[in-house]
């Protein structure tokens, strides 16, 4: 690692406008180019269309991402209701064939993982929060950022259009394994799968454009005084997740391209020699396992692409509402980075039953279990942050606490499934369904809810309604436990996942039927509770209590803007200058129990920062 650029030489860079006219200290050519355009040249919208539709302001793009993601997420929610009704009460309300069931499973999974969670965390929260939290006026490439959103939007439209093509959407499962995904007999093997692959490719291209913005904004466009180690953990989480996405998404697009060619042009990248109804298909020689490797090389980092921003956001919510600095800030950063790096070495634990060499499985079981170490450190640190904190049990905090419990629960079942020997009997049962819904469904969603309650006052200037929020939290938290806890039991007794009907299998006791009905009712209740939440979001824009500036008394920069909600250009005439990390809560000797990041030491004489 080179150290050619000591701090001195960089000195005070022309970042904030007050030192604009000062002398350029650096003599390097590349620096000069940058300093020619010291303040970002913002695009100033003039019409309604450039302000709200083809908008280049990261805040608006973030909201556009969030609205699109939540809308398509509601479709996936309805699909899950339909599946649950089929499982618990087949033929009572409607009769759904196996084809429709598989299509709903596939679309539910794909939408929730890629089009809702990834887009909402990185596209939604990333766009809105990154420039505000690092003290920048906008993303570094605003135009590219706009295109990124519209690519995502088109990807969603293509995905939705697959519901309306002949044959319907693909029913290959969200993993889209060949050969069945593109072989006749699988629902949607004609048009549906092609549209799915195109949509995913568009998503990846759009995301790469956005990711470029997130990474470079965080690395290069921070305000003066904002070192990497002073950034809030939210930004660390989003940053690492974006790096993971940039490295992992190519695997998805590569497999999409090759499978599209297999399907449309009859190549045999993944397709083995096959006979169907006595006929020799045109394919031959390809390796379906190769697709699985590619898919999971994307698929496992994808789990952390969703989880790391959630880790970051929840750390901030807990610290703010416990009025304490986050316990072990550096350890938290390291854990995020280590988890991110390790996530590229565990992919084959999704393929234990694909017939691999036992030593291969042994290797992946080991790496999988090693990831538990940094993850556990994070959990301990959250708990230790709460310890002797001045806890405010408001709604974001409730959701954060709910997250910790759900995440620990889902993580522990992950230890079961990470071991090859334990995984083999549990594989393809409801235990797996319970595990991944707990750990990467409910846990991140709880963080998203907490984050929305937390930052809604920044976006709109109003609070969300508190009673509705409490109702929303308790129904969602207890309800999702009622859904997924019993599923562990179903898995233990061997109820297989992906079956559209259980028939009268003798090994499944009748109690399983009762459980299935209970789960379905819980799912319906939890789903309807989300309508209350949506009503809350819409109605609070008008009816909500006015929040004012910095209602949660938070330290990070996004709350220190001149106007609430922040306006075009984010900050006032001058960019803020950062003098401290984002966790100066309850500092002994300070008048208030928090010191915002942009308060200079001279303004809080006598305050002594505690070491953790």
């Amino acid at each position: 690692m080179s150290d050619d650029f000591p701090e001195r030489e960089f000195g005070i860079e022309t970042k904030s406008s007050e030192v604009l006219d000062g002398e350029h200290m650096s003599s390097k050519k590349e620096d000069l180019i940058e300093s020619e355009v010291p303040e970002q040249d913002l695009y100033h919208p003039k019409s309604f269309i450039t302000k709200w539709i083809f908008c280049q302001d990261a805040k608006v793009i973030g909201i556009q991402y969030s609205i699109t993601a939540i809308s398509i997420g509601l479709v996936a929610l309805v699909l899950s209701w339909l599946m649950r009704l089929q499982l618990a009460f087949p033929d009572v309300f409607f009769s759904m064939g196996p084809a429709a069931y598989y299509q709903f499973v596939t679309m539910h999974g794909m939408i929730m993982v890629v089009y809702l969670l990834t887009a909402l965390f990185l596209g939604g929260f990333g766009n809105f929060l990154i420039p505000l939290m690092v003290g920048s006026r906008d993303m570094v490439f605003p135009y590219l950022n706009m295109i990124s959103f519209w690519m995502y939007f088109i990807a969603v439209l293509v995905l939705v259009s697959s519901f309306f093509v002949p044959g319907g959407p693909t029913g290959a499962g969200w993993t889209l394994y060949p050969p069945q995904a593109i072989t006749s007999g699988t629902p949607g093997s004609e048009g549906g799968i092609i549209l799915m692959l195109i949509s995913l490719s568009l998503f990846v291209i759009g995301f790469t454009m956005g990711g470029l913005n997130y990474i470079i904004t965080i690395l290069q466009a921070r305000t003066r005084g904002m070192t990497l180690m002073r950034m809030p953990l939210t930004i660390w989480g989003i940053f690492t997740a974006t790096v993971l996405a940039m490295l992992a998404f190519p695997a998805l697009i590569v497999s999409c391209i090759m499978m599209t060619l297999d399907s449309l042009l009859g190549t045999s990248f993944f397709m083995p020699t096959m006979f169907q109804m006595g006929e020799h298909l045109k394919y031959g020689g390809g390796s379906p396992i190769l697709f699985q490797h590619l898919f999971w090389f994307f698929g496992h980092p994808e789990v952390y692409i969703v989880a790391l921003p959630a880790f970051g956001i929840v750390s901030d919510l807990i610290s703010i509402n416990a009025r304490k600095n986050i316990f072990g800030y550096r350890m938290m950063v390291w854990a995020i980075v280590i988890i991110g790096a390790l996530s590229f070495f565990v992919w084959a634990h999704h393929m234990y039953v694909s017939g691999m060499n036992p030593w291969f499985g042994f290797f992946f079981a080991t790496t999988t279990l090693i990831i538990a170490v940094p993850t556990a450190i994070k959990v301990y640190n959250w708990v230790l942050t709460l310890w002797r904190g001045n806890i405010r049990l408001n709604i974001p905090m409730l959701f954060s606490l709910g997250f910790i419990i759900t995440f620990v629960n889902g993580g522990i079942t992950g230890l079961f499934l990470g071991n090859v020997i334990v995984d083999v009997p549990l594989s393809d049962t409801y235990f797996v369904v319970a595990h991944f819904h707990m750990v990467m469904g409910i846990a991140p969603i709880l963080v998203i809810f907490g984050a929305i309650y937390h930052w809604y006052p920044l976006v709109t200037g109003k609070f969300l309604n508190e009673s509705m929020g409490k109702f929303h939290f308790w129904v969602t938290f207890l309800g999702s436990y009622s859904i997924y806890f019993p599923m562990h039991y179903l898995g233990f007794i061997g109820v297989p996942r992906r079956y559209y009907e259980m028939y009268n299998s003798p090994y499944i006791p009748t109690s399983a039927e009762g459980l299935n009905e209970f789960i379905t009712i819980a799912a319906l209740v939890v789903g309807f509770a989300q309508l209350v939440f949506l009503y809350n979001i819409v109605s609070s824009i008008k009816l909500g209590k006015v929040a004012g500036k910095n209602p949660w008394k938070a330290c990070s920069l996004e709350w220190q803007t001149e106007h609430v909600p922040p306006q075009h250009g984010n900050f006032g005439k001058n960019l803020p200058i950062v003098y401290r990390w984002a966790y100066d809560y309850g500092v002994p000797g300070a008048k208030e129990d928090y010191i915002p990041q942009n308060v200079p030491p001279s303004a809080v004489l006598g305050a002594k920062v505690e070491k953790t």
Partner: protein
């Protein structure tokens, strides 16, 4: 080599809450890497692109070992195309040197030449395809053919993407009304991309003739 202000390890072991560290941090410029945004952006794009091609190559290596692989002949034209691309890469290096010396008139000519060569390369690839199809090597007749057509297509798509930026840079140089440093940086970055295109082609071509 990316020039960081600090090594990664040193950076991650900072203690932001300490007074001593705080005094240093307050002077921090807010930048991590001593590159322009555009340069860093290009590097990110190249990284993603390298991973993209590497994954294809991994699948290629895996698929190659299976029994049904039948090597296809490579038309002589491909060697010519390789040379054309090599030439454009060399010329871009010259263009960069000229622009560093502020001789933008020469840069104009070189950029036009490069555009011409790139167009020749593009059509050269198409003709090579035509020759192979005439000989009966279709996209799906053998997996080796599939990979050949796939790789050339992806590479040409990267070339077209680069062509979009080459056009922008050429226009910028012809207008000659922006800041010289800015023009120099554009020529340099576009040049890096062209070297990248050549290297990727070299790897893919080498892979295909040696399998």
């Amino acid at each position: 080599m990316i020039k960081k202000e600090k090594s990664l390890f040193g950076l991650l072991s900072e203690k932001p809450w300490e007074q001593k560290q705080s005094a240093v941090d307050n002077l921090h410029s807010g930048r991590t890497i001593n590159l322009t945004k555009a340069h860093l952006g290009l590097r990110c794009v190249l990284t993603v692109s390298i991973i993209f091609f590497s994954l294809f190559i991994v699948t290629y290596a895996d698929r190659m070992l299976l029994h049904d692989w039948q090597k296809m002949p490579e038309p002589k034209l491909l060697w010519f195309n390789t040379f054309v691309l090599f030439l454009s890469s060399i010329l871009f290096h010259q263009a960069k040197n000229k622009s560093d010396n502020q001789k933008f008139k020469d840069v104009e000519k070189l950029l036009l030449l490069i555009s011409g060569l790139s167009i020749i390369f593009f059509f050269g690839q198409l003709i090579a395809w035509g020759q192979l199809v005439e000989q009966g090597y279709f996209f799906n007749s053998n997996i080796a053919n599939s990979y050949f057509y796939l790789f050339t297509t992806l590479h040409v798509l990267h070339l077209l993407g680069g062509g979009f930026f080459l056009k922008k840079v050429t226009q910028k140089i012809f207008k000659n009304n922006s800041n010289p440093l800015d023009m120099q940086s554009s020529v340099k970055l576009c040049g890096i991309y062209w070297h990248f295109l050549f290297l990727v082609w070299l790897v893919l071509f080498g892979l295909m003739i040696n399998s």
